[in-house]
């Protein structure tokens, strides 16, 4: 079996033993179900727009909850030394951990497909817009998980890792508000790195390769930085 999958499997099983997995599932399934009822069932809107928008905002808080312990806990408990003295590449460790949290995220998204199924059965939703919504939220989640993973390599405190990840995610989300106030190239740059700007196209049903590229670039960057940092031994005691 591929070593990335072995790490992912162990990581997933650690979520089963940890209360955090259940807390995240409860927050997501509970809140998403509640707002789906309010917005779609009660008001009769045939689409997932409100539900997915809510999930996109919730992800800023729930994704760091998933990623905060990935490496920081291993550093705290010392088990990172165990991993790094086994015949496995650092990239396999990082990719395995990433794959595990991505799977959890996709399960959370997958659950909303049941809601979507209800919408299809009862109404006549705009397919393209809804597909755009799903692609957008998945790409946003991928980037947030990767950033969170990198931040968890930087510290041995889960709390610090989680809080910084929430802060960074929020910054990416709201930076376009500042971008609107700044004229010239700096305003353009801030606007280009804002999650809001790139997500808005998806939420209109427009799938632009530039937006896809932005989230994928962030994802790859987070993973690469995680590998580079973990390989650098300065943090090892």
């Amino acid at each position: 079996m591929n070593k990335i999958l072995i790490i992912a499997k162990r990581e997933l099983s650690s979520f089963i033993y940890s209360p955090i997995g259940y807390v995240i599932a409860f927050i997501n399934i509970g809140l998403v179900g509640y707002f789906f009822y309010i917005d779609t069932i009660y008001s009769g809107f045939a689409g997932m727009h409100f539900t997915i928008s809510l999930l996109a905002t919730l992800s800023l808080f729930t994704m760091p909850l998933i990623t905060m312990k990935l490496v920081s806990e291993e550093k705290k408990k010392g088990t990172i030394e165990l991993l790094m003295t086994l015949p496995i590449r650092t990239s396999d460790i990082i990719l395995g951990k990433y794959l595990a949290v991505l799977a959890i995220f996709l399960i959370i998204i997958g659950i909303t497909l049941l809601h979507f199924l209800l919408v299809i059965t009862a109404g006549n939703p705009e397919f393209l817009v809804n597909i755009g919504l799903y692609i957008g939220i998945i790409l946003e989640g991928m980037a947030l998980l990767s950033i969170g993973l990198f931040i968890s390599t930087l510290t041995d405190s889960q709390v610090v890792s989680g809080l910084i990840s929430i802060g960074v995610g929020l910054l990416f989300f709201v930076i376009n508000l500042l971008a609107d106030k700044i004229a010239g190239i700096w305003g353009d740059i801030l606007s280009e790195i804002s999650f809001g700007k790139h997500l808005s196209s998806f939420f209109r049903g427009v799938i632009d390769l530039k937006d896809v590229g932005f989230f994928l670039l962030l994802t790859v960057l987070g993973l690469l930085l995680s590998i580079i940092y973990l390989d650098n031994e300065k943090w090892r005691k």
Partner: protein
């Protein structure tokens, strides 16, 4: 199997290892002996590929851990000082995980083998976090043995174990002598005398001695240790510290231990002490043990600073 030459390692400005060199062959059980902070764990971590080094060469089974870390890690079974285990897993789940990462073929059989060797059969389905320290140590050892690596690096393998467990682990290490190269670190001197056939004495990042147990003990022949009990310890220490044939002094509450260059100087020392009227009522040389040599070599260095 293991060859280390002129190895130096810095932690920022602190020189943790200072130009150390040694070789370990197959069938050797080598004791890396030294006080806390001597550089034992750093040396072991470099050999496992966990830490890098600044200068020198490290050869583990034909590979440099900095250039071919994966190859080195395939050859080495490592037990860190405090066994590092995923405490939420059961023993069997944990060992399966290690075996899969080590790409052991038919790993269920291999797990059975190490469970048998380390005598943890009655705990295989128990959550690791609920195990006693002794059992955790055995699980750590079992994980190091998975895949039957030719080199074992064991950092304080008996620390925290009860006397019966210590005896069992030592027997286990001895039983693997023929087929493996084993390096174990310890500051428990009887452990070295019981288990190892070679000793590397390390202190403050430097190697003080490399020899067989007997060879190390022989280093003290000619030289000697004397225990002095007297009424005025402070005055006696002052007198002793002025003598040129004294290599080191350790002043304990009720006695003074002095390391002298040659046994023949004992007479002069006693005469001087009597002359100084410090009230000597006991003056004798204890039987030379590994502990004496260890003391002599480490304390001597401390006095020079």
């Amino acid at each position: 199997m293991i060859k280390i030459e002129s190895l130096t390692k810095y932690y920022n400005d602190f020189k943790a290892l200072d130009n150390i060199s040694f070789e370990v062959g197959q069938g050797d059980i080598v004791g890396l002996l030294g006080p806390n902070g001597a550089g034992k764990t750093t040396t072991m971590r470099i050999m496992t590929g966990y830490l890098s080094y600044d200068t020198g060469t490290v050869n583990i089974g034909g590979y440099d851990p900095q250039e071919k870390p994966i190859e080195v890690k395939k050859l080495v079974g490592y037990l860190p000082e405090n066994p590092l285990l995923y405490e939420e897993m059961t023993v069997k789940e944990f060992l399966s995980f290690i075996a899969q990462v080590k790409e052991v073929k038919s790993y269920p059989d291999e797990i059975e083998r190490v469970i048998e060797i380390t005598k943890i059969k009655d705990r295989v389905n128990q959550i690791i976090g609920t195990l006693s320290k002794g059992y955790k140590q055995r699980v750590g050892l079992a994980s190091a043995l998975i895949g039957n690596p030719p080199i074992l690096i064991l950092d304080e393998p008996t620390s925290g174990l009860d006397p019966n467990q210590v005896i069992e682990i030592r027997e286990l290490i001895r039983s693997m002598k023929e087929s493996k190269t084993i390096i174990l670190s310890t500051h428990i001197l009887p452990e070295v005398e019981e288990v190892c056939n070679k000793v590397i004495l390390i202190d403050k990042g430097k190697i003080r001695a490399i020899d067989s147990i007997e060879g190390i003990k022989n280093m003290s022949k000619g030289a000697a240790t004397v225990i002095i009990k007297c009424e005025e310890n402070k005055k006696a220490t002052e007198v002793l510290s002025k003598m040129k044939y004294i290599e080191g002094i350790e002043n304990r509450e009720d006695e003074i231990e002095a390391f002298i260059k040659e046994e023949s100087y004992k007479k002069e020392i006693l005469e001087e002490l009597v002359k100084a009227r410090v009230g000597v009522f006991e003056f004798y040389s204890p039987k030379v043990s590994l502990e004496d040599v260890f003391h002599r070599l480490t304390i001597k260095e401390g006095d020079n600073e």
